[in-house]
């Protein structure tokens, strides 16, 4: 440091800039590498919707003209844990056993079948749907969502899916 004070402002200034820029750059390197790792590490994990077929009911039980409420148990993989979730669906024997998700396409409450009015009604914001699932009134922007089904060994099976809320188009949530 002996001749530092002797040096003029010009070279001293650039030396100071260098003195501070290099270490700050290196410190930025430390933060950047940790931050990059942090971003990848914390990035939300989209759980792949399991394409498992879930038993709904034996075909013989699905009779009549009215929607039948059924409970299905779907497996969910969330990070380090698997868990099972139950969902309500309605089977429409009158519509070739189409299966509707009970989740209201408005904000995601669960609709229930009203035997007196012969309508699905959502308890949250009073959307109404006809017995075939089509929208009648209320804030929902589309009808109830059908789920993929198939017949296997005399049983009706379904693949559980969730859809985006509040859209006119039906968009599978991923």
């Amino acid at each position: 440091m002996h001749n530092d004070n002797a040096s003029a402002a010009g070279p001293d200034k650039s030396r100071r800039a260098f003195l501070i820029l290099v270490p700050l750059g290196m410190l930025a390197g430390v933060f950047t590498s940790v931050a990059t790792a942090a971003y990848r590490f914390l990035k939300p994990r989209i759980s792949e919707s399991s394409n498992k077929w879930i038993d709904v009911a034996p075909l013989a039980d699905l009779t009549g003209n009215l929607p039948l409420p059924k409970k299905i148990v779907a497996e969910q993989i969330a990070g380090w844990a698997t868990s099972t979730e139950e969902h309500f669906v309605y089977v429409l024997p009158a519509k070739n056993n189409q299966v509707l998700s009970a989740v209201c396409p408005h904000e995601g409450c669960e609709v229930s079948w009203q035997t007196d009015t012969k309508l699905f009604s959502c308890p949250c914001h009073e959307s109404y749907f006809a017995a075939d699932g089509s929208r009648i009134s209320g804030p929902a922007r589309r009808g109830l969502d059908p789920l993929p089904t198939r017949l296997q060994d005399g049983k009706l099976q379904v693949q559980y899916q969730a859809f985006e809320n509040n859209t006119e188009q039906r968009i599978t949530r991923s």
Partner: protein
């Protein structure tokens, strides 16, 4: 040295808090010299950056870790095997925990050389306490992954505490949160590791830096602020560069060498040889030479005395000692630091060497390393979360009503013998199925109850252990009655 610098030095010497700029008599040349020597003074910056890295990586790991015995190992495996950058972050946290005490020790030695205990008391005390806290954080951190190494780390902590004279029992109970190592123990170590020690470290570090800016102002009007500022800037730059370089080396090292993670503790074989983390090897080796209660004293009291004596060093300028030495503080501190350095280096080397020399130990350790490697290569298996019991349609079948296993079986036995007695394979270990076990000799209901109480009497070997105290008699009978119904 020109006029400005002289005046700086003089006024700084008057203010002991300006430890960055203090020149105490007798250590001329130790401060702000140019060239390579100056780089030896960057231990503070290195410690700062490493502490920062520990905080950052620790916080990141906490985003996924779950402190309960049934999920801890799964979540750590998830971090290691599934999450992007998870292995690197954990490895960095692990390796920095080994090097942080080393650099802290060097930092303390450097402070000692310039008599900082007198000239920068706050800095001195803070560094000693941070070293103690960093060791405490490491001691609690080793329990968290809940593999065999973690389990023994907890076991040894338990043993050391319980061997303490007078308060051994109390200390053990308080550390474990009960009379056995359980999920409560893990919660405690978790809270100590993630909340208590980092919080205390932050407080001490804040305390160490609190006087700094003020004291620069307080240094007086004689100080040429530009000159002082440049000296500080130069020093700060060097500290940052050194810290960043050490980080870079450890970051690259961590990419190549992941932190160890063995199979879950439930799969541990009886011949497992536990070895502590590198920063505790000296203690581990020392305990081989001291037996019984004395071991606990050595493990707790010795480090305690060292930390206490170094903390109190600023006040140890005792007149009584001045007949031995003109500077009793130098004598005391120098002795302590030398003894510690010698003890740690010797014991750590002896520990490494003795593990190398004994062929049986070497083979077993190699086997364990191979097990860890094999476990690392296995794909990650998610844990099934138990369903909510309030939901009767989906709840697990209650005890014995529909031929399902009793609750106690699911809790204690299913881990190894399978949910329905089908047995299990965990790594190299195979657990026998219980199906058709009643066809074997000495396996009636009464025999099985007896076997649960005393497996050895029935010719069973570890890892099958006694459940005499873990299960009630009612539960043992329920399990036995259910097990005999199992058909092949």
């Amino acid at each position: 040295m020109n006029a400005t610098e002289t005046s700086t030095a003089v006024s700084e010497a008057a203010n002991p808090l300006v430890d960055l700029t203090v020149k105490s008599p007798g250590d001329r040349g130790d401060l702000f010299e140019n060239g390579w020597g100056a780089w030896l003074q960057t231990t503070g910056g290195i410690v700062g950056i490493l502490l920062l890295v520990q905080f950052l990586t620790g916080v990141l790991l906490a985003f996924y870790y779950v402190p309960s015995v049934d999920h801890a190992h799964t979540t750590v495996s998830f971090i290691e095997k599934v999450l992007p950058a998870g292995s690197w972050i954990r490895s960095l946290h692990h390796h920095v925990s080994h090097w942080l005490p080393v650099f802290l020790f060097l930092h303390i030695v450097r402070l000692f050389r310039r008599s900082a205990y007198n000239t920068a008391t706050v800095h001195w005390i803070a560094s000693v306490i941070v070293l103690a806290l960093v060791m405490a954080a490491a001691a609690t951190g080793y329990s968290l992954p809940w593999d065999a190494r973690a389990f023994f780390s907890t076991r040894v902590a338990e043993g050391i505490l319980s061997g303490l004279p007078l308060l051994g029992r109390t200390a053990r109970l308080w550390a474990l949160g009960g009379n056995e190592i359980s999920t409560l123990t893990l919660s405690r170590f978790f809270a100590l590791h993630l909340l208590v020690t980092p919080f205390l470290i932050l407080i001490v570090v804040a305390w160490r830096f609190s006087g700094l800016n003020l004291s620069l102002v307080a240094a007086g009007p004689n100080v040429n602020p530009i000159a002082t500022g440049r000296v500080c800037l130069q020093n700060l730059s060097r500290q940052l560069v050194a810290g960043s370089l050490v980080f870079a080396v450890l970051a690259i090292y961590s990419m190549k060498y992941p932190a160890s993670l063995g199979p879950a503790v439930t799969t541990m074989t009886p011949d497992y040889l536990p070895r502590p983390g590198a920063q505790f090897l000296w203690l581990y080796q020392s305990l081989k030479y001291v037996h019984g209660s004395l071991g606990s004293v050595v493990a707790v009291v010795f480090p305690g005395v060292v930390v206490l004596a170094l903390t109190l060093l600023p006040w140890l300028n005792l007149a009584a000692l001045q007949k031995f030495s003109k500077q009793p503080q130098r004598l005391i501190g120098g002795t302590i630091l030398t003894v510690c350095a010698l003890l740690i280096v010797t014991m750590t080397s002896v520990s490494y060497l003795s593990d190398r020399r004994d062929p049986r130990v070497r083979q077993q350790l190699a086997r364990q390393a191979a097990d860890e490697e094999a476990f690392r290569k296995e794909p990650f298996v998610p844990t099934p979360l138990k369903l909510d019991n309030r939901n009767p349609a989906l709840a697990t079948t209650p005890a014995s009503s529909q031929g399902g296993p009793p609750m106690a079986y699911t809790k204690f036995c299913a881990m190894c013998h399978g949910e329905h007695g089908e047995g299990a394979r965990q790594g190299a270990l195979r657990f026998p199925p219980l199906l058709g076990v009643s066809a074997k000799p000495r396996r009636t209901v009464d025999d099985i109850v007896g076997l649960l109480n005393d497996p050895k009497a029935y010719g069973l070997e570890p890892p099958m252990r006694s459940f005499a105290t873990k299960l009630t008699d009612q539960e043992k009978r329920e399990i036995a009655e259910w097990v005999v119904t199992l058909k092949k």
